[in-house]
Symmetry: C2
């Protein structure tokens, strides 16, 4: 890639960004768009413009507001998880800023006053012109064995210690955030509850519910409150969803009916539909009447199925409620059974994030699935290099032109050519990566993990390794991959040489990648053009009732499973190139500064958390930043020894230092993330907890009785089977 296409890329990216920000500023001030730009605020029952007049009216008001909002505001609006994500962004930003302060003024002059590139190209003078500014201001321009390399070695140390320092501070900060969130005096059902899996098969004269009850009553005589056995709700849920669907149809039809009562035609038209496939064939019926009849038909069925589910479809897992937070915290950390495969007790997830279908999975099943999935992911990580290198080979413009000759007319236009040359490889990469997260999420869910937040962590862990191995290492080596494969097999040392020699060459590619990602990506994120269009289309043509409109604008959560790994990729790239080509640091700073600003805006105004894990994501981010740091350290050892610099081994101690740092942080901070400290669980509550409500919170919607008093009946239904055999 030459310097022209690089600058083009930067300029067009920036242009798109400016346009999108202007669009955002204009659109977000129109009250009709409030559900798109302020859904979080609306859902919290606030007026988006109240008390914010000045800020919102000025074009940069959102920036002021984002800066003004405290961490407590963020926790209030988006939960601890969102606050932790912002801490992650600001930590990386801090690392890059602190590094840049030293690295840029030191390394750029050192590189600029060197002449290795010209010297190497000396023989053919024409080649010398091809070096870009980026290449000239990089490690590649420093002569072999030069003492200037000490500056680069020092920089690696500086960056490493800056990272340790910032990470340590952040871990401490997040620990306190979590502790504060855990020790609030609010009553949260999950804090009174443990999840029990691997319940053994009870004797034939007991139901599972009875056996859970008697087991926990015996082991926790003073603190056990009630147990709820997990049931197979598939059938009950199907009927329940059908009824809900009919109810929605009635609401919609009634709105349509009311609308049709115009002045001309006061009796209106009763909406009808056909009962057959997709409403296209079959008998034509009056929708309201038909659905009401259906509901009448289904309600007794549901009731019967509920009873049947409760007593006959009990699974070998249970939710056990204790009468105090401390008792639940203590029980969740205590080994209950002598045999490992019985009575596994863990902290209960929040009711809204429980994955019910995973709960009854047996421990053997879970272990086997996990092993198989790890193996598959391992294979995928390693063998995806092949399609990726194929992509990067095809997406060279020249190749594309050869293969698809009809493109020639377009491609040969000079402007189109420059733009395409600048974007094509990056776009291909971004599209490709977009396909993966859904698959990984599905795969992680199949492991048998009981909570949504845990699935997201598992998936984003896999995605990180995927992204680092395939994108970063893949793109770096790909060009030389196929030709060099034979060399590697013959001579394993060759891989260090290759990495060292091909990494500097890819610097420009990654600079463009980072710029593209933040300008265009953040522009789209902020302007929310896609949700805006969808919302307006739906509102105009589909939604008739209040509920339907609300469903059209209800936002999702931040989507950590893709957001975190893609930020992590940028961290890895920027770290790895920080010393090789220090010019990347300002881009990294811009990425994380803008990222922090926009994420904060979106957290405060747009996204609504779909669960609260109290920052359990942090240890995961922390470990992966250290992993990125270690990739960087290893790369630098390779790169600097390629310069035939004998002191490059001075860098080797950094690897064990990183490991020790990771281990220290883990022993120091991790326990309070994996378990609930008793100190925290013993905090006073502001009110006497309503135990019935806590218990009811865990009843799946399709089994939920109408009133709280019916919970007793619900519970009895589970243990009434005392005289019958269990259902399997």
């Amino acid at each position: 890639m030459d310097i022209a296409s690089f600058v083009t890329s930067l300029l067009t990216s920036f242009l798109i960004f400016v346009v999108l920000v202007l669009v955002f500023t204009w659109l977000s001030r129109r009250p009709g768009n409030a559900p798109v730009y302020y859904p979080n605020v609306l859902l919290r029952g606030l007026d988006p413009w109240e008390g914010r007049g000045r800020g919102t009216r000025s074009p940069v008001g959102w920036i002021q507001q984002a800066f003004r909002a405290s961490e407590a505001d963020v926790v209030h609006a988006g939960g601890v998880d969102a606050a932790v994500y912002l801490v992650f962004l600001s930590s990386v930003l801090a690392i890059l800023v602190f590094s840049g302060i030293l690295l840029l003024p030191v390394l750029l002059p050192v590189a600029a006053t060197s002449h290795a590139l010209e010297a190497s190209a000396g023989s053919n003078a024409s080649a010398a012109h091809n070096f870009t500014v980026i290449e000239r201001l990089a490690l590649g321009n420093v002569e072999e064995k030069s003492f200037k390399l000490w500056a680069f070695i020092g920089s690696v140390y500086w960056l490493s210690f800056v990272t340790y320092f910032v990470l340590w501070k952040s871990y401490k900060h997040v620990s306190n955030l979590r502790a504060a969130a855990r020790s609030t005096s609010d009553v949260k059902p999950e804090e009174f509850t443990v999840l029990v899996r691997d319940v053994p098969i009870p004797p034939p004269d007991q139901s599972i519910k009875d056996s859970v009850d008697s087991y926990f009553r015996a082991l926790h005589p003073d603190t056990f409150y009630k147990a709820m056995v997990v049931t197979d709700i598939k059938k009950a849920d199907k009927i329940f969803q059908e009824i809900e669907g009919h109810k929605q149809k009635i609401a919609h039809a009634e709105a349509v009916y009311a609308e049709s009562k115009t002045a001309n035609k006061p009796e209106g038209t009763k909406p009808t539909h056909k009962t057959g496939f997709l409403g296209l064939i079959g008998k034509k019926v009056d929708t309201i009447e038909y659905c009401n009849e259906k509901i009448k038909e289904l309600l007794p069925k549901l009731e019967e199925e509920q009873k049947n589910t409760l007593s006959e479809k009990q699974q070998r897992a249970a939710i056990v409620v204790f009468n105090s937070r401390a008792a639940a915290a203590s029980a969740s950390q205590t080994l209950h059974a002598q045999m490992f495969d019985k009575w596994t007790v863990t902290e209960a997830p929040e009711p809204r994030e429980i994955i019910w279908s995973n709960l009854p999975m047996k421990i053997y099943d879970r272990n086997t699935r996990r092993s198989v999935i790890y193996f598959i992911v391992f294979l995928t990580v390693f063998f995806y290099l092949i399609p990726i290198s194929a992509i990067s080979a095809v997406t060279t413009l020249e190749k594309l032109r050869q293969k698809l000759p009809f493109l020639k007319v377009v491609v040969d236009q000079p402007i189109v050519k420059t733009v395409l040359q600048a974007y094509l490889p990056q776009l291909a990469l971004i599209v490709f990566l977009a396909l993966l997260p859904a698959l990984l999420l599905f795969v992680s869910k199949s492991e048998g993990i009981p909570a949504q937040s845990h699935v997201v962590r598992a998936a984003s862990g896999k995605y990180f390794y995927f992204v680092v191995f395939n994108v970063f290492l893949g793109i770096t080596i790909s060009s030389t991959l196929f030709s060099a494969l034979k060399t590697i097999i013959d001579n394993p040392k060759g891989i260090i040489d290759m990495l060292g020699s091909s990494l500097p060459g890819s610097a420009t590619f990654f600079l463009t990648f980072v710029a593209l990602k933040f300008f265009v990506g953040y522009g789209l994120e902020l302007s929310r053009l896609v949700p805006l269009i969808i919302f307006h289309l739906k509102k105009k043509y589909l939604c008739k009732t209040e509920d339907e409109v609300r469903a059209a604008w209800t936002p999702g959560d931040l989507g950590y499973n893709t957001r975190v790994p893609s930020d992590m990729l940028i961290v890895t790239i920027v770290l790895c190139y920080s010393v090789i080509a220090p010019l990347i640091i300002p881009f990294g700073v811009a990425y994380f500064a803008l990222g922090w600003l926009i994420a904060k805006n979106q957290v405060l105004r747009v996204y609504v958390p779909s669960y609260e894990s109290n920052g359990r994501m942090w240890p995961h981010m922390h470990t992966r930043i250290i992993a990125a740091l270690m990739i960087y350290q290893a790369t630098m050892i390779g790169v600097i020894s390629l310069k035939k610099f004998v002191y490059s081994s001075v860098l080797i101690p950094l690897i064990p230092i990183s490991l020790i740092f990771a281990y220290t942080c883990h022993t120091r901070f991790y326990p309070a993330f994996a378990k609930t400290p008793l100190e925290v669980a013993r905090q006073e509550l502001k009110e006497t907890p309503n135990m019935g409500a806590i218990y009811a919170a865990y009843i799946p919607p399709c089994l939920k009785p109408e009133k709280l008093e019916d919970v007793e009946v619900f519970e009895d239904a589970q243990s009434r089977t005392t005289s019958r055999a269990p259902s399997f």
Copy 2:
């Protein structure tokens, strides 16, 4: 080593063994020796000969008795730890027997019908005579690329799966043993107690005792009983020991005095001693009077020091007693503090095995010490190869003869030469290894481990790696080591070739080593000649009082820290050679069969456990057997591929299979060893526990009040400091 010296070695070893067994049979039947051969029985208050008449009278009676004793008897006499050690021996025995059943009839004929050795030596016919039977009946005699090698590959698989099977069964068995021991209805102080370390510095108006009290009372309001803060007892203990010493002297002097009152001289002679250095110089005093005076002087000092210690020398660690086993079990598994470096709670060790001086060590201190010690041990493990190879180079008889010419006269005698040639290297090795355990025990204790049993486990873990790396690999490679060092550095693959080629050559050495160890070692162990002589000497010349005699014969415990690793070395050797030279299997069987028999005898009659860890040693043994198995599997991959057999890679899957097996066992069984399951802790007790006695059990002897009622006073002494500043 030629066949003559091998046979000589075997025969002399066997002869020594027979002699020692005869000596044992003869000596153990003399009532005067009962304290040496039956100390355990005596200490349990039984008559060694009661009800065992027939057995003890016949020369093989002890064998019958050992066979007849059930596991319950073993647990009763020597505790669960001893029973687990016997399970370890019998498990290895089972592995070897099951393997031998298949390996010997299959591999010996296969090797015997091959002629690789003769073929290779074909060029110089005289060399052919030098091959011993052992070499002829080993893998070395099989031709390269021969299909007979499939038999050897199959054998590796057979042995591996036999090992998995036996280990699985044994782990299950030991788990049950432990559960049974933990769920007895006896009141054991350690089951009501947790150990608290890293107590934070209390505010100036609180003593540590008060802060521990208030912390645990707040977190465990219903189950907290009492806390005892660990104090610095160094000074109090010194005074206490002085008083005890004087008391012993008085008793001794009184016995001497009573003895001196013969018929001739009814008034007797009052014993005297000099007060100066070692009783050799200084004023001559009447011992009884002097000591009585000293005690009178010291007693008030002790009392004052006790008070001072309790209130002013409180350390930042405590023993916290709960009023039920379940509460203690649950508390020991629950994270207490938000910060990792405060209030570390673990299960309490037994009072008798607590290492008081280690308790107040801070967590940072402990971590640093552990890292430093691991590093030192790592260095030692790797660099001891050098002295060991030096030893094995010097101990060649030829070399010794050259270096020390005055030995020529002795060494040139044919019998002496044969015997020396047979024993010298093995003896050197055994003496060398005997020096190590004390060092490792000391080093492990410095890690800050709170319990003796844990220190023993830590030390024997280090010893195992030491022994395997240095003895096994060292001896195997040492002869070629120095010459081959250059080859290895140039060509890393060379190490597999070297291991493969030098391992078969060392087979005879290790056969002799195993034989020497079991014949002579077990003979000495059984006959207890050294303790016998010491006992009789002491009894005759030194001991005057009943207590002194008892001290002269009181036996120690089994000494797991040296016993287990030295058995593990034999396991490693026998496993590694089992397929290379199957003739080693009968020797291994003999070692572990005799070992089991003699250890059982010694457990039943001799040794007295000094602590009870309820089989915590087992997971440790289990892991190391698997480690030995994996060394064996790796070696076999090398050895068989050296035969240029392309299918040797068929063995590679065994390595991951072993890892998966180890992981599975760990997740399945280990939790119940590391923690107390609540099921077990909830077992009914046969009596209401006397909480005062439980508390008093943890008071160090030098602080112990005379009567149980004084415990209250003792406890108050610790918290009376409410108005004073803490002592640091």
